[in-house]
Symmetry: C2
Subunit: 510 residues, 2 copies
Amino acid sequence: MQLTQGVHRAALIHPARTALACQDREYTWAQFRDRVARLAGAFRAHGIGSGDRIAMLAHNSDRYVEYYFATLWAGGVILPLNSRWSPAEIEACIRDAEPRLVIADEQHAELAQAVCRATGVATLLSTADWEGYVHGSAPVPDALRSGEDLAALFYTGGTTGRAKGVMLCHRNFFTNSMMHIANLGLGDEDAVHLHVSPMFHVAGGARLFSVTMAGATHAVLPNFEPEAFLAAIERHRVTVTVVVPTVLNRLVNHEHLDRYDISSLKLLSYGASPMPETLLRRAMDRLPGVSFLQSYGMTELSPVATMLMPRYHTFEGPDAGFTRSAGQPVFNADVAIKDANGHELPPGVVGEVCVRGPMVMQGYWRAPELSAQVLRNGYMHTGDAGYLDERGFLFLVDRVKDMIITGGENVYSVEVENVLYQHPAVHECAVIGIPSDAWGEAVHGIVTVKAGVDVTGDDLIAFVRERIAHFKAPKSVEIRKHELPKSGAGKILKSELKAPFWRAEKRGIH
Amino acid sequence: MQLTQGVHRAALIHPARTALACQDREYTWAQFRDRVARLAGAFRAHGIGSGDRIAMLAHNSDRYVEYYFATLWAGGVILPLNSRWSPAEIEACIRDAEPRLVIADEQHAELAQAVCRATGVATLLSTADWEGYVHGSAPVPDALRSGEDLAALFYTGGTTGRAKGVMLCHRNFFTNSMMHIANLGLGDEDAVHLHVSPMFHVAGGARLFSVTMAGATHAVLPNFEPEAFLAAIERHRVTVTVVVPTVLNRLVNHEHLDRYDISSLKLLSYGASPMPETLLRRAMDRLPGVSFLQSYGMTELSPVATMLMPRYHTFEGPDAGFTRSAGQPVFNADVAIKDANGHELPPGVVGEVCVRGPMVMQGYWRAPELSAQVLRNGYMHTGDAGYLDERGFLFLVDRVKDMIITGGENVYSVEVENVLYQHPAVHECAVIGIPSDAWGEAVHGIVTVKAGVDVTGDDLIAFVRERIAHFKAPKSVEIRKHELPKSGAGKILKSELKAPFWRAEKRGIH
């Protein structure tokens, strides 16, 4: 169950097939195996032993793919760094994960050098010297780590606290990859996967294992730019790729869409957020030969728990009505909805989405308390609030910690926010629960308004009450002058907004 | 990575889909989960705890499928008994595996009773009381054994020695099942698998896990009878099934083939032996909408190592020429050809077929020495002799122990036997190596001839020399009057034929 096995197999059965194509570089599977074995030799020469971390700070490229497999081949652990992080965040990650090597591309060389100097924990390598590493080393034998051996640390921040290193083992990605091969057609003889999602995220990274295990072809783009994306599909005869809905939106509205031959494309998989119906309809209209597939998951699930399969991307017939769901559990995923006491809830009732199966992470790196908080009774507690319907379709409603319980009723902050955003005056908003003697929690809205528009809190309350159940409408709305506090990823930090209201409460922040 | 997980998932996402159909009995996945949980309760009430074996001596039926999953659900280990074994062989197996329970159907009740009485190790249950077990017990929670936990013992005899219990864990079948789902289309919404291979063999048994993990439909026939087989395909809208070539032969030559609507059938997978070209051509001609897929493996590989995919079932174009091969390594299988010293051999050179990967058994039950003989340096040594071509297609030539090395050349006994069988006088034959001062080993033929035919050894030697290289032809042929010694499965026991020749040799029997 080792993630390098696909390299051996593909080199055996498809030696002359293209393994990897990026810009003007292209390697067959026989070449790829040889390059990976040599690069692993270079890593070993730099002291990499079993379980040592090798960090990468770079844009997507063919080197990034080789880094993944050479790291495992050498016996190491992949540690991809988010190139959008601040220097301080990168430094914190390096101090926590203690890689022996840090590799940076030319755009990140300066930053990486500063971080290496500051932390003193790692040796710096550059992708500029890549061919030297490859050709300056003899091939070394595969370390053959597998199963429960740690394969990668993916740091994930979210909206609270410091970033945590998600420990994913060979078995984790093996499970996800076999599911992908079955559901994405990666085993087809003509399968070519275009990687455009960042390889420092697990969504982009996990696909590297799936495609390799299938012995298919990797085509790589450094980032998303619509014309380059379309040109890459045409040039490499891409059959499958994964995008986020915003990227799809730019794609299907692109003026030159028809200038490219993208007839090879069979499947567009997307994730991170459900597809808006108008966008999906437009995409299905403009890409008539393409199937759509939605994935839901998180880094801790390496990363997929549920999929909305192509057949449910329809607006007619018995399979219609599911495009707002996150789909059904994938092979080997047990999805359960649990209440705060850990009891499983029946269909239709909202609770925390919990997942059990071989895709669940081993834990957070050097953080047993944090691991124990989310890994309980064999389940990963995702922190997402949702419900399952009678056929196991998962509908997500909110983050658990953003749910408000008022007068015994559950209110999902997201639902109320969606209504507030419909008001023309609202620039941004957050709905939170605040202490209330009468209701336990009261629904409270915090809003910034667009320049030159005049609106009161009562106007907005009335606006919401016209559109959804009264118990869901805010009891109070305050209008603020300054931008709401946000995380590095741009998410509004509700925890910061809540804190002042709860500080005085004996119950504390919840 | 637990093999019962598919039951939970299928009951969640396909509660009303048919799980299991056999004769006049049919259960949905919701019903199947409930029945399995109750049956597991009955097993627990009979004292089954974690790792306890439950034996089954029966023909294929829906009960057999329920037995598989209820055993695992209860925490037990599956122990299917070959209903073609002699009472002594069954007794030996029971003494070795020490099951706590033995279940028998009505046809095997008397035999099972005798064995239980003789061994005193097990309590006897009858499938005649099945509904009582199911309805007399409350559902119990799934024991959730998984990963390295033992799932099944399959006894395998072969042509030498006593039967050995092959220890297969949850991870083994998980790997095989995910490969099957990807390669057999079991994840398709309309997938219905017809089980006709005996469930006491791993080939039939492993499919039960694959189909369940996929959440597809099991259709079950007690045994192969052409009209019933065709009727079952029509009735259940079967999409995929697995047969041995002899069964396929009876099928495609059946006079009533055209009377049945078998248009649902998409894939016929076959194994145990390569398909004769004439039969394959006829099958492709008579079943034009059906794809063919060959599997090669053994019980110790749970069971598949290589597959010849549908595209290579052709006699024209660049994909032709592979129907005599066993195909290429499946996902996650490392196949290597090794010489007697364990060195890997290059393409085209014959050696022992060795397999590494998560499908390799844990070992033989209570036989560490036997396990160590075949599990070496991470590889399962199959005992099959073969070679890989430049693209990883595996061509099998013989059993390793039946290869003859004469004057430095390898001779495959099977190849010489195939030529001898072309002679009209030959009834049966075996080709073995015997001691020779001049050649190291000399090729020696042992033949029985058809009644009323007159032929000499020299005639047969000349016959062979006209057809294949002279060094492969026997140096001597003896004609025997009595039938050659055979195993229970009908294979000629070459070890017995060899023994007298080698007894006097210092080198001993090899």
